[in-house]
């Protein structure tokens, strides 16, 4: 039987940084009961030696996330090649026997991997700041280093971004697979500061060191093009000579070794050549590996694939439980009493402060403080989960925030769920439209059919692209899956998913976070550059912002940067129907100038999000380096002094939580230096100056030993320095 086509599964995998020479072993996450933390259980692990030989092991546990030297095991995902044969719709993991049947051997398979780190380029716009590593085509089984190159590196210096290895198929393990191993998590400096103690070594020679962004950008192209949030790179502040009272954030010129890119495979049989590709992104470890974020990249991909509306089906019962469980896992690691507080001046509180800073909303707590304690909030989530476990209908759809109501900053609007967390557009978190729809669909299903047994997982069939998206390659731990990566990307941890939408309309490049045309790809579209996109195919991409002003009067609120009373909606939710209903079609796009005086309507074609018939993000919509380009630089900047308390499942906040003497939650800040068993359970607020917390400069070099894994809400023991 001949081969009809090939695919790489999973279509997207997450690698995670760590400098241990041994990748993280595989594990499973088991659910002991509805409300207990997931249990980490060893699973079949694949080890690959330097020559590409594979062995399979199963450890006795417990699973360790770092080695004996205290170094973190990197997450190094496998990519499997699957094939579809004549007269069958089934996808089968390709083996050397299949190749032999076709008269070829493993050499007929060749790989090419291209990854990029475009973080500096995203800020400076200088193409010479792009860092890319390309392996070139290879069929051997040696390690191929991913060495990032840039015209702005010291001559002969390269940025190690990890390595890839085509695993040698054997009689025991005949399958065709490649392993991607990410970099160590090092940070490099600039040549003009050769003695910087916080970096691995100098590497960079361009203008990134000394690059500045103002704290009060002007309403012009330069002001609008900045990342959102801006100034998210390591540096220092200095007065802005052009703006009285303003400041500039000056870059230290740091370069980290995160990246994202494309893994391509080619299979040549006679005159036929089959190709496939997949994507990879390398980000930081999941520091609470028994927890999952409430809104993940998997949720985004599913919505992009299937649209925003879920149908009533048995499997949604488990899905909705999983959504609530993920919410519970998040609030377990959040100091909700602290996050609920209002303050304009004091740092280290949550969204209430952001609303005041960003929209001059009246400063007040989000929820009544008496019910915002972490244990009280946890109880509410536990009991909802319990009710779902008993077979009750999901009744809470009405309290979920709708995607286009994120600008509702009234008391009622801010108290919608999920609460106290930040969305990819900077305001309060909304689930994906499909997640909300699932909650409603689950209720409909149970109403019509009763609470059924959970549906069996679908087999991998070409028509079932969802199964392809969620495929777990053998040996890949759960934290390599897209459902381990956060997607309330502001800007994100593993990848900034907002970047996928920049090129959704052929001919223009949108800002990843704003309805702003950053660039154009065709000369005739040049007038659109610097304009605002208002509608696509009649779909509004902005929403009004309302709430009480500082006098408590409810009405439109204007942002404190550009004085607009409408905000950009995050692309994922706003454009969910666009790509579902209008892919490859030309649609009317309405634009407006920054001063709102000129309007233009022009037809643009909607790009494919996934390549046709696949679940892999199209090559045309995001180039290597695009998905990580707007993340913090270096990524450690998002771990301290960044008000990023809304990714608790991956970046914990409130740890070692126990019942305090007054019955309320008592615990430590994850950034607190002193965290022994005898340390008083007192949460130290991150006010950016408290010396009892790690400084972000310490994290740049020392993160691997300073940041500790949290399992069942408890610290791992301190790491020897």
């Amino acid at each position: 039987m001949g081969i009809k086509g090939i695919r790489i599964f999973p279509p997207l995998a997450v690698a995670r940084l760590g400098s241990s020479p041994v990748p993280l072993e595989n594990y499973k996450l088991e659910i002991p009961d509805a409300v207990s933390p997931r249990k980490i259980v060893p699973a079949s692990t694949l080890r690959v030696d330097e020559a590409g030989n594979l062995t399979e092991i199963l450890s006795e546990g417990p699973v360790s996330f770092r080695d004996g030297a205290g170094l973190i095991h990197p997450v190094a995902p496998f990519f499997e090649v699957w094939a579809q044969f004549d007269r069958s719709e089934e996808w089968i993991h390709l083996t050397k026997q299949h190749l032999a049947d076709q008269g070829v051997n493993a050499d007929a398979v060749s790989w090419n991997v291209h990854v990029g780190n475009h973080k500096i380029y995203r800020r400076t716009s200088d193409p010479d700041d792009q860092i890319d590593a390309v392996t070139g085509e290879f069929s051997d089984h040696q390690r191929h280093e991913l060495l990032g190159e840039s015209k702005h590196f010291i001559p002969n210096e390269k940025l190690p971004l990890g390595h890839v290895q085509y695993v040698k198929p054997s009689d025991q393990h005949p399958e065709i697979r490649l392993r991607f191993t990410p970099a160590h998590g090092k940070v490099y400096g600039s040549a003009d500061d050769p003695n910087d103690p916080y970096v691995e070594k100098p590497l960079y020679v361009g203008k990134w060191r000394g690059y500045t962004e103002p704290d009060t950008p002007k309403n012009d192209y330069d002001g609008r093009r900045l990342t959102n949030p801006a100034q998210i790179y390591a540096g220092y502040d200095t007065p802005d000579p052009s703006t009285p009272g303003g400041s500039l954030h000056v870059s230290y010129g740091y370069v980290d070794d995160e990246c994202d890119g494309i893994v391509e495979v080619k299979l040549k049989i006679g005159e036929s050549t089959f190709t496939a590709h997949a994507r990879v992104a390398a980000g930081p470890p999941t520091f609470a590996p028994d927890s999952k974020p409430i809104r993940t990249v998997a949720d985004e991909l599913e919505q992009a694939l299937l649209g925003p509306t879920a149908e009533a089906a048995a499997e949604e019962i488990e899905t909705v439980k999983d959504i609530v469980r993920r919410a519970l896992e998040t609030v377990r690691l959040m100091n909700t009493a602290q996050m609920n507080k209002a303050s304009v001046k004091t740092r280290g509180v949550g969204m209430a402060r952001m609303d005041s800073l960003d929209y001059a909303r009246k400063s007040e707590p989000i929820f009544d403080p008496e019910v915002a304690d972490s244990l009280a909030i946890r109880t509410r989530h536990e009991r909802v989960l319990l009710a779902l476990e008993s077979g009750s209908l999901a009744w809470f759809a009405r309290v979920l925030r709708e995607y286009d109501e994120v600008g509702n900053l009234t008391d009622e609007g801010r108290r919608k769920m999920p609460g106290m967390m930040r969305n990819a557009d900077g305001r309060h978190l909304a689930l994906t439209r499909r997640q909300v729809s699932k909650v409603k669909a689950m209720a409909e299903y149970i109403a019509a059919n009763g609470a059924a047994e959970p549906a069996k997982r679908a087999a991998i069939e070409p028509i079932n692209l969802t199964a392809q998206l969620t495929h777990s390659a053998k040996g890949n731990p759960p934290n390599s899956q897209p459902d381990s990566a956060i997607s309330n990307a502001y800007p994100g941890l593993e990848m900034d998913f907002r970047n996928i939408w920049r090129k959704v309309l052929e001919g223009i490049i949108l800002h990843e976070s704003l309805n702003f045309v950053l660039d154009v790809e065709r000369a005739e579209l040049e007038p659109l550059k610097g304009m605002l996109l208002l509608r696509v195919a009649g779909i509004n991409v902005t929403a009004p912002v309302t709430g009480p002003n500082t006098d408590g009067i409810v009405g439109p609120l204007k942002d404190t940067t550009f004085s607009e009373d409408r905000m950009s909606l995050e692309w994922s939710n706003a454009l969910a129907t666009l790509i579902h209903e209008h892919t490859d079609q030309e649609v009317d796009c309405d634009f407006e100038s920054l001063d709102h005086k000129q309007q233009r309507t022009i037809k643009l074609k909607v790009r494919r999000f996934f390549d046709e018939g696949t679940a892999v993000i199209s090559k045309n919509i995001a180039e290597p380096g695009a998905l990580t380009q707007s993340l913090c630089a270096p990524w450690q900047n998002d771990y301290r002094e960044c008000a990023c308390f809304y990714w608790a499942a991956n970046r914990p906040d409130f740890v070692n939580v126990e019942v305090g003497s007054n019955g309320e939650a008592a615990g430590n800040n994850w950034m607190q230096r002193d965290r022994t068993i005898n340390t008083p359970k007192v949460y130290i607020n991150d006010d950016w100056v408290d010396e009892r917390l790690y400084k972000h400069t310490e994290l740049v070099k020392g993160w691997e030993k300073l940041l500790r894994f949290i399992i069942a809400n408890q610290d791992e023991p301190p790491i020897r320095q």
Partner: protein
């Protein structure tokens, strides 16, 4: 109502000044009545006793409505039927939630004037012919039960006439065979009297002196304690701030009267037709009209009325037995826990937005947690036979505990919560051993209770 509570209360005298909620208005002329006491009772004490009656009614109605809503069979053969029953269920649950808000508002008013809280009531069926011609009953949703709910929330005759609904309501009375001069008294009149008691007295303010009722007919200003507001429950804490839960706090006469007025209007609506759809009366009337007259389809499960775990009651149509027995017992236990958490939350001062903190938030969360649990237990029970050999399904008995009095000392209150939690843990383990099919829910309940127990134990020590 309990006989001691309603003793010394008579119904007579002039027309009420404020048209408030009618508990029932089956006969003309009843509206002219007023609740009075046969003995000398100070105005504050009068208000407390009347609010206790209001609390019992709101409590009983809330539980009745919950029971009716959970009895609805959502698995109907046709799409249109499924949509109807889902809508009815949601509406009745919403009304039950609002009754809970009314109960909380009444407790807030008691708190305002320093009265003891009242969360107690009689067990079902509650028979009080002086107040209401039908027993208060836990029963599945039916045309007949809906008719009772409509009448329970009916506004005054004047309002019915102005809304053009008098004939329809008369027909409903006829359907229920309410005829003749039944002695029925409107609970609205009780709220009416409470409203009067909060009206400023023409007499000089100051400590009340006997004879109270004639010369000082109002609750004295010194007894309206603004400082109690920090003990009252707020919509922000209870409903997490969602707009549809009416819970009123009060700090003076005007806010107390506003609270009474809003509670009344949410029940019966006003003479404005636009308010009809949002009132309990209007909502029930709509469902009543839509509900099938015939046996052509059954919107509800065949659920027992007034199920009981009381072994002294030998009634095969009520006695819960077999596998359902332990679940009913668990339901009663969790209901007990709910009421004590709720009661206790009124005894602890709400923390300010500062460093001071208190376990009140946890008590409120646990109260809501038990509401979720009771929802689960109700649905589980309504899927089980009432007892062996019965073709009726069981239901939660909502039986009252022997007492809802909390100990005088704070540590002992937490000991009471601890004891109930431990009893529940033991009972859950027993059910787990006997009925392992429900293990996922029960195991998770155990885990959650263990965490709560840890928290409660810390507070016993505090």
């Amino acid at each position: 109502m309990s006989s001691r509570l309603r003793s010394q209360l008579i119904w007579s005298t002039p027309e009420p000044r404020l048209a408030v909620r009618a508990f029932a208005a089956p006969t003309i002329g009843v509206a002219k009545e007023e609740a009075k006491f046969t003995v000398q009772v100070a105005p504050r004490e009068q208000a407390i006793r009347l609010l206790w009656i209001g609390a019992e009614v709101e409590h009983a109605l809330m539980v009745e409505y919950l029971y009716a809503a959970y009895s609805i069979n959502l698995q109907q053969p046709e799409e249109a039927m499924r949509k109807d029953v889902m809508r009815w269920r949601n509406t009745i649950l919403e009304i039950a939630r609002e009754e809970m808000g009314h109960l909380a508002t009444v407790e807030n008013l008691l708190t305002l004037i320093g009265g003891p809280l009242h969360l107690d009531r009689e067990d079902f069926p509650i028979i009080d012919p002086d107040l209401w011609p039908f027993p208060f009953e836990l029963e599945p949703l039916s045309k007949r039960s809906l008719a009772k709910y409509v009448l329970a929330e009916t506004p005054s005759e004047d309002v019915l006439v102005s809304l053009g609904l008098k004939d329809e309501i008369d027909a409903i009375k006829k359907f229920l065979k309410v005829e003749g001069d039944l002695t029925v008294h409107r609970v609205g009149l009780i709220y009416d009297k409470v409203n009067d008691l909060f009206t400023a007295s023409p007499m000089p303010e100051g400590p009340p002196v006997p004879p109270y009722t004639d010369q000082n007919p109002s609750v004295a200003t010194v007894d309206i304690q603004q400082s109690t507001e920090k003990y009252q429950v707020t919509p922000a804490a209870w409903g997490l701030g969602y707009g549809d839960l009416l819970i009123e706090t009060a700090h003076d006469r005007a806010s107390a009267q506003k609270a009474i007025k809003l509670v009344s209007e949410q029940g019966e609506g006003t003479s404005a037709p636009s308010d009809l759809d949002s009132s309990h009366f209007g909502k029930f009337l709509k469902i009543y009209r839509e509900f099938p007259d015939t046996q052509s389809w059954q919107p509800s499960h065949k659920v027992a009325s007034n199920p009981t775990t009381n072994t002294t009651i030998d009634d095969p149509a009520r006695s819960v037995g077999g596998d359902a027995c332990l679940w009913a017992e668990l339901g009663n236990l969790r209901y007990h826990m709910l009421l004590l958490y709720l009661h206790h939350s009124f005894l602890i001062e709400a923390p300010s937005n500062g460093p001071s903190r208190s376990p009140r938030g946890s008590l409120i969360s646990w109260t809501f947690g038990e509401m979720y649990n009771l929802r689960s237990l109700s649905e589980i029970l309504m899927g089980m036979p009432l007892n062996s050999g019965s073709d009726l399904k069981a239901g939660p008995p909502f039986e009252m505990p022997y007492t809802l009095t909390l100990p005088a000392r704070e540590g002992d209150r937490w000991r009471t919560h601890r004891d109930l939690l431990m009893a529940s843990i033991d009972l859950v383990k027993k059910i787990l051993a006997e009925q392992p099919a429900r293990a996922p829910y029960l195991q998770a309940l155990l885990t959650s209770d263990t965490t709560t127990l840890e928290q409660v134990n810390a507070l016993v020590g505090a």
